[in-house]
C-alpha cells in the first residue's frame, strides 16, 4: 500500500513559495509547446482539407508545385478528349486548364512585400471547387481586369479590400469580391479569369489542369494512362493527395516545435529536479519516520514520483489554459497567421487551433517532465538507511 495522495498534494501546496517558480516555468514551456503544435495543426488542416477525392490534378512531370509547372496547349487539347473525363449537362468535359502566378503585394500594417498566389481559373474550375464560396462583393467579369481574393488574405495585404487594386505584371487588377475557401489552401489565393490571366502575363502555357473523371474506375484508369504516356510527360494524381503533400510546409514549424520542445523540456526537467531535491532534503527525517512506521523504499520512491509529477502537471494545466486563452483572443479578434510556403515562396494563410486534445498533450508533456525530473530525487529519498534518515536534522 502506498501513501495517500493528499499527502503529496498538501506537500506541494504547503511549499508553494518554492514550487511556484517551477510551476510557472513549466507552464511557460507547455504554453509555447501547445501553441507551436497548434500552428502546425493549422497548417496541416489547410492543406489537408483541400481538394475533392474525385478530382485529378495534372502538372508537368518533375515539378513540385503548381506555380512551377508548365502544361502546353497541345497537352491540354490531347487530355480534353480522353473519354474517361466526366461531362456536364451541356456535354462539355469537366476539365479546367489554369495558370498559377506569383504576385507580390505590400503587407498591411507592416513594412515590405510578400508573395501571394494568383490563379487564373475557368468556370469549370470553379465548379470543381465548391468549397470556395463568395462572401462579399461579386465574382470577377472576364476582360475587366477584376480579381476576387480570399477573405483571409485581405487582412494581411494592403489593397486587398473591396475596391482596392493588386499589381499583376504590367497591369493593375481591381478587387471586386472576397471568397472563403473553408480553411483549404485556396484561402491563400487570389482568383481571376484564366484567359485574361494568360494574356496579362503573356503566357502561352498553363500551369496545371484540374479534371473530374466519370467514376472511380475511370479515375484509376486515367491516372495510369497519363503516367504511362511518354509523349505527354505529365504527372497526374488525386487533387487531395497533391495538397496533402504540400503539408510539408508544416515541417519547419514542427521541427522548430521539436527543437524548442527538447531544449525547453531539458530546462524544465532540471527545474523540477532542483525543487524535488530541495523537498527531499527538507524531509529526510520525515522519510525516516515513514520507514520506521513500515513504509517500504518503493512506497517512498513512488510517493516522490507522484509528487513531482503532480507539481509539473499543475504547470502543464496552467500552460495549456494559457495557450487556450491566446487561441481565444486570436479567435475573437479574427487574427490570421501567415507562413512562407517554401515551394512557391507565397504566403500561406492558416488559422492556428488549440484543441482539447492538444491541451491534454500539453498536460501529458508536463507529466513526463515531472516524472523524469523527480526520478533521481525520489531514489535519493529512499536510499538512506532508516537510522540515518531519522538522525538527520
Amino acid at each position: 500500500m502506498a501513501l495517500p495522495l493528499r499527502y503529496n498534494v498538501r506537500n506541494v501546496l504547503v511549499r508553494w513559495r518554492t514550487t511556484a517558480f517551477t510551476v510557472l516555468g513549466i507552464a511557460a514551456v507547455v504554453t509555447v509547446f501547445v501553441l507551436l503544435r497548434g500552428m502546425a495543426r493549422g497548417i496541416e488542416r489547410s492543406s489537408g482539407n483541400t481538394g475533392d477525392p474525385r478530382n485529378i490534378l495534372v502538372v508537368r512531370k518533375g515539378s513540385q508545385a503548381e506555380s512551377g509547372s508548365l502544361v502546353t496547349r497541345d497537352q491540354f487539347r490531347t487530355l480534353q478528349y480522353f473519354e474517361e473525363i466526366a461531362r456536364n449537362e451541356k456535354n462539355e468535359p469537366v476539365i479546367s486548364a489554369e495558370l498559377v502566378m506569383i504576385v507580390s503585394a505590400p503587407r498591411r500594417g507592416a513594412a515590405g512585400e510578400a508573395n501571394t498566389l494568383l490563379r487564373g481559373v475557368t468556370p469549370r474550375g470553379m465548379e470543381l471547387r465548391p468549397q470556395v464560396t463568395l462572401k462579399e462583393g461579386r465574382w470577377f467579369t472576364p476582360g475587366k481586369r477584376e480579381v476576387v481574393v480570399a477573405q483571409r488574405l485581405a487582412s494581411r495585404f494592403a489593397g486587398f479590400e473591396l475596391g482596392g487594386t493588386i499589381k499583376a505584371g504590367p497591369d493593375r487588377l481591381t478587387v471586386v469580391g472576397h471568397f472563403d475557401a473553408a480553411g483549404s489552401a485556396f484561402d491563400s489565393e487570389a482568383w481571376m479569369d484564366a484567359d485574361e490571366c494568360r494574356s496579362i502575363f503573356d503566357r502561352d502555357m498553363y500551369s496545371s489542369i484540374l479534371l473530374r473523371p466519370r467514376d472511380e474506375a475511370a479515375l484509376t484508369n486515367l491516372v495510369a494512362r497519363i503516367q504511362a504516356d511518354k509523349r505527354l510527360s505529365l504527372r497526374a494524381e488525386r487533387e487531395v493527395d497533391y495538397y496533402a503533400k504540400q503539408t510539408m510546409t508544416a515541417m519547419p514549424i514542427k521541427i522548430l516545435a521539436g527543437i524548442l520542445g527538447v531544449a525547453m523540456s531539458i530546462g524544465a526537467v532540471f527545474a523540477a529536479m532542483n525543487t524535488m531535491y530541495a523537498s527531499v532534503a527538507a524531509r529526510t527525517r520525515e522519510v525516516g519516520t515513514l520507514r520506521v512506521l513500515g513504509f517500504s523504499r518503493f512506497a517512498i520512491v513512488l510517493s516522490f514520483l507522484i509528487e513531482g509529477t503532480f507539481l509539473a502537471m499543475l504547470g502543464g494545466l496552467l500552460g495549456s489554459l494559457l495557450a487556450w486563452s491566446v487561441y481565444a483572443v486570436v479567435l475573437l479578434r479574427g487574427i490570421n497567421f501567415g507562413t512562407m510556403d517554401f515551394q512557391s515562396f507565397a504566403e500561406t494563410v492558416f488559422q492556428f487551433r488549440v484543441t482539447p486534445d492538444l491541451m491534454l498533450l500539453g498536460v501529458l508533456f508536463s507529466a513526463a517532465i515531472g516524472f523524469v525530473g523527480s526520478l533521481l530525487p525520489a531514489l535519493r529519498a529512499a536510499q538512506l538507511p532508516v537510522i540515518s534518515a531519522l538522525k538527520s536534522l
Binding site: 502506498a2 501513501l3 504547503v14 515513514l290 520506521v292 512506521l293 513500515g294 517500504s296 537510522i387
Partner: protein, 232 residues
C-alpha cells in the same frame, strides 16, 4: 500446578554494535544481554553517548547489531531483510520519538491512521481504530487538527496514539518527555504506564530524568555501552 515461567518478550544476547569512523572504531554497545518480560515498563538510563538509543533502535528493528542477537517474541530481528523488517516493525512495534515526528501536512487523525494504511483493514475499521487510539490518549476531539495547531504535549500524545494504533506488543520511546514541560511529561508518562498496567503492553523507554524513571517498573543503566546493573 505451577504457573509456567513468564516467557520473555525481548531476549538480547551478547549484543555489540561497533561504528567504524574512518580508522577509529566506536563501540556503542559492548556484549549486552538482557531479558524483558511482557507488561514490563523498562527504563533505560545512562550518560550521553552510553548507547541507550542504539540499544533501543536495535530492539525496535531500525538498526542492525554488529554481533549478537536480539529476539523479540521469538523472532531474531537481526536476521530479517529490509522489507521483512519494515513489515515486522509495522505489525510488532510502536515508536515514540523525542521530537514527536508527526507528518506536518497531515492532521492528527491522519497521522495516527498512517501505519494502518499498510494493513488490509477496511476504511471503516481504520477510522474506528484511529478514533479508539485518539480517545486512549485523550485527543478524541483533536483529530482534525494539524500538528502545528497542537501543543507539544498533545503532539506527543498523538504520536503515542500512532505507536499503539496497530496494537503492537512492544512500544519503544526515546526520551519521549525530553521536549515537554513537567505537566505534559507527566501526562505522557501516565499514558505509557497505564498501557503496561491495563493493556499488557511492554514499554522500553530511554530517559535522562530520574523523575520520569520513577514511572517505570524496572531501571537499566548503561555506561560506555555496557549494562552496569539490572535492579528493580
Amino acid at each position: 500446578m505451577a504457573a509456567p515461567p513468564p516467557v520473555s518478550i525481548v531476549v538480547v544476547r551478547d549484543l555489540s554494535k561497533i561504528y567504524r569512523q574512518g580508522d577509529i572504531n566506536v563501540t556503542a554497545l559492548n556484549s549486552v544481554s538482557l531479558d524483558i518480560a511482557p507488561g514490563e515498563f523498562v527504563v533505560l538510563m545512562g550518560p550521553s553517548g552510553s548507547g541507550k538509543s542504539t540499544l533501543l533502535h536495535i530492539i525496535a528493528g531500525i538498526d542492525q547489531p554488529t554481533s549478537g542477537s536480539a529476539k523479540v517474541q521469538g523472532i531474531d530481528i537481526a536476521r530479517l531483510n529490509q522489507s521483512q523488517l519494515a513489515d515486522w516493525r509495522n505489525q510488532n512495534v510502536g515508536f515514540v520519538f523525542q521530537s514527536f515526528n508527526l507528518i506536518p501536512v497531515l492532521t492528527a487523525a491522519e497521522n495516527v491512521e498512517l501505519p494502518l494504511l499498510l494493513t488490509n483493514l477496511s476504511r471503516k475499521e481504520r477510522r474506528l481504530q484511529t478514533q479508539t487510539a485518539l480517545e486512549l490518549v485523550g485527543l478524541a476531539d483533536r483529530g482534525h487538527h494539524r500538528p502545528d495547531q497542537l501543543s507539544g504535549g498533545q503532539q506527543q500524545r498523538a504520536a503515542i496514539a500512532r505507536a499503539l494504533v496497530t496494537d503492537p506488543a512492544l512500544i519503544v520511546a526515546d526520551e519521549p518527555t525530553g521536549n515537554l514541560d513537567a505537566k505534559s511529561a507527566a501526562d505522557v508518562l501516565e499514558i505509557l504506564q497505564s498501557l503496561t498496567r491495563t493493556a499488557g503492553k511492554t514499554v522500553v523507554m530511554v530517559t535522562h530524568d530520574p523523575k520520569s524513571a520513577a514511572y517505570g517498573s524496572r531501571s537499566l543503566h548503561l555506561e560506555k555501552g555496557e549494562l552496569v546493573n539490572d535492579a528493580k
